[in-house]
Structures are given as structure tokens and as C-alpha cells.
Amino acid sequence: MEPLLIVALMLLASVLQTTWAYSLNCCGAAPDLVLLLVLFLAMQRQTTLGLWSAFILGLLQDMGGGNPLGLNALVLLAVAYLVSRVRTKLFKENLSAQLVIVVGMTWAYQFGTFYTVNALWHDAHTLGQWASRSLTMSIYNACLGPLFFKGLARLVRGEDVYQHLIATRSKPAPNRWVQRLP
């Protein structure tokens, strides 16, 4: 059931990104639903699945948006790899950690596509354009990201992950001095 759900989410994210996301454009920024889904899968799932999902989502985004085939696929693959390297060191349900990942990876993704486009089309855009676009998109993604992750976690795992974690964290730690007495 979960694999089918993930495939459905991937298709939905790529279609929404190329259709509805443009209408949510505000001050030159728009949400990047595909990137958010890639980050979620890269953080929450094993590395292989995260990488494959990123590559396939990137291909779907390229084909759906009229981009050169492979542009987003390669960059999203790199982003998923970076996240997979740090995922075991993160407390993934922590809001600050999620925000740092979303903002950092938005800048990284924008730099990856900016660099690739400039390499192919000879310095097409300036660093100023990259900085301004990354700033606006990272703010937009940071506002959406935690809500997106929470909703996806509930949907994919089929349980209230956050309540479970809060319940386990609220139990008092065992008193080791009491236990050691004969």
C-alpha cells in the first residue's frame, strides 16, 4: 500500500507543480512541491528509495514542464544525496531541523539548476538573479514545508507519528540509582 501511495504522491506533486503552482506565484516566488516531496522522502526513507524517487520526480517535472530531459532529475538527485548523507544525524521531526533542511536545500537546488543552465547556455543568468530567486523561494518553501511534512508523515505512515513521539518523550526517564540498590 505504501509504495502505491508514494507513486501516487509523486505523480500528483509533479502535475500540481506544473499546473497549480504557477497560479500561487507571489512576488516572483512559487512553491516547489516536487522539491518538498523529494526532501520528505530523502529524510524519512532509506537512501536508495530517496534517490530513485528524486530522479523519477525530476524526470516527471522535466517532461511535464517542457524542460530539457534530465535537468531537474540530476539536480534533485544531488539534493537527495546531500540530504541522505545527513538524515541519520538529524532529529527529523524537529521543526528547526526541517526548516534548515528546506531552506538550505532550496538554495542548493536553485544553485544546481542555475549552474547547469548557465553551463549549457553560456552565463545566461547572473548571481544576483540566483540569490533573489533562492531567497523568495526558500521563504515560500519554509512556510509550506513543515505543514507538508506533517501531513505526508500522517498520510504515508498511517498513524499519528507526532503524537506517538510526544507520548514516548513525556515518560520520565528511569532513575538508575534506584534500580541499582539491592
Binding site: 502535475v15 504557477y22 517532461m63 530531459l69
Partner: protein, 250 residues
Amino acid sequence: MLVTQQKPDLVTQSIRQGVSFILVPVQQKFTSVITQTREFFNVLTSLGKIRAENARLRQELQRLQLDNQRLAGQVQENEVLRQELAYKKATAWKFIPAEIVARDPASWLERAVVNRGTVDGVRPGAGVITPEGVAGRVIAVTSHSATVLLLPDVQSSVAAVVERSRIPGTVKGSGGRWLAMMHVPTGDDVKIQDLVVTSAVSSIFPPGLVLGEIASVQGAENGLMLAIRIKPRVNFQTLDRLLILKPEEE
């Protein structure tokens, strides 16, 4: 894979053809939902303005109809004069209406996918316009969809002239809100608010179509050419309907 995209090949074209056959109808459904929702809220919030604009448009329609009748006579006279002078016959154009079904806001490339393809007569390289002016050109076509390279894209370039002084140049996209007019030597007669239109040299657009208005004129770093910034006539942020050009003899 990316390098081979510079020249489309059979494999990638086949992949695009197959995927777009399934994807484009789905994208069209999603886009139509949001278009209808937007139009519904627009109608609710602007009923008063709609009435006033309706009255204004009716008057403009009457004026244009009168102009059209006057110009029809001039077209006939022009044709007779062309024949007398043995000029090559001016190409007539057909318009294929299309709707944008997909556009990726996260991409650095200004491209859009429309819901018309080879079955509707669209060919690669065809010009794309709107009633306001030039919008771009078709760069890839499948049977039921086409990818349009919009004017602000860095790969886009159109042969143009300044309407007032007939100074030729090339209008290129800069990846942002503005267009740039290149190859205009320093000292040429170019002013702010001059209209820039397509040149007769362009093979994909009829001459005289509006590209935009000159917003700033400065000397370039090398001192030989002018750095001209153009505000495009078409609003690419809200663009949703296009007209694809097709020469009538095809």
C-alpha cells in the same frame, strides 16, 4: 542526456511523445480547474468594472470595424501595386488558438506547454503571439502538445526594428522581466518609450508585431553598442492563451 537535448533526437522525442500523450490531458484538467476558479472570483469581485469595460469595448469595436473597412480598401490597393512592381506576394498567416496547460515556476527556463500539436497543424519553429504582441516560438512538438519558448527566456531571440526610426536590432530574453535589444550601435536614434516591433527580416513572425517598449537606453561597456532594455508588451505572469502562427500556404 542534457547535452543531447541541444539537438533533439529520436529517443528523447519518443519518450516525450509517450509521456505527453498521458500527461497533457491530466495537466489540462488541473489547469482548467484553477482557471475557472480564478474567473469565478474575478467575476464576483469586478462586476462594476466589467460593465464599464463592456461599454468601452463596444465603442472600440465599432471604431475598429470602421478602420477595418477603410484598411480593406488599402490592402487591395497595396496588392495591385505589388503586382505592378512585381514584388513577392506577402505571406498570409493562419492562427491556431492554444491554451497553456503546464508551466514550471521553479525552472530557470521560460517555457510553457500548450494543448496543440502536429494533429492541429503546429510545426517546430512556429511563432507564437497574443493579441498584445509576440509571446515566443514553438521549439518542440508532439502529436497533441507543443513546448513554447517564451520571449523572456535567454535562448529566445527575434529580429526587430524600432518602429519610429526603423533602426534594426535583435531582441533577446534576459531571464527576467525585461528584454534586451542587441546590435544597435552607439549614436543611433533610439529613445525611451519607442515601440519595438518585429522586422520584415524575421521568417517566423509577420512584420510589425509589437515586442515591447524601450524602458532604458545606456551605453554598453565596450562603448560601441547601446544597452537597451525593453519592457515586453505581453504580461508573461498571467499568460494563459496563445495564438500559434501558421503560414497559409501550408
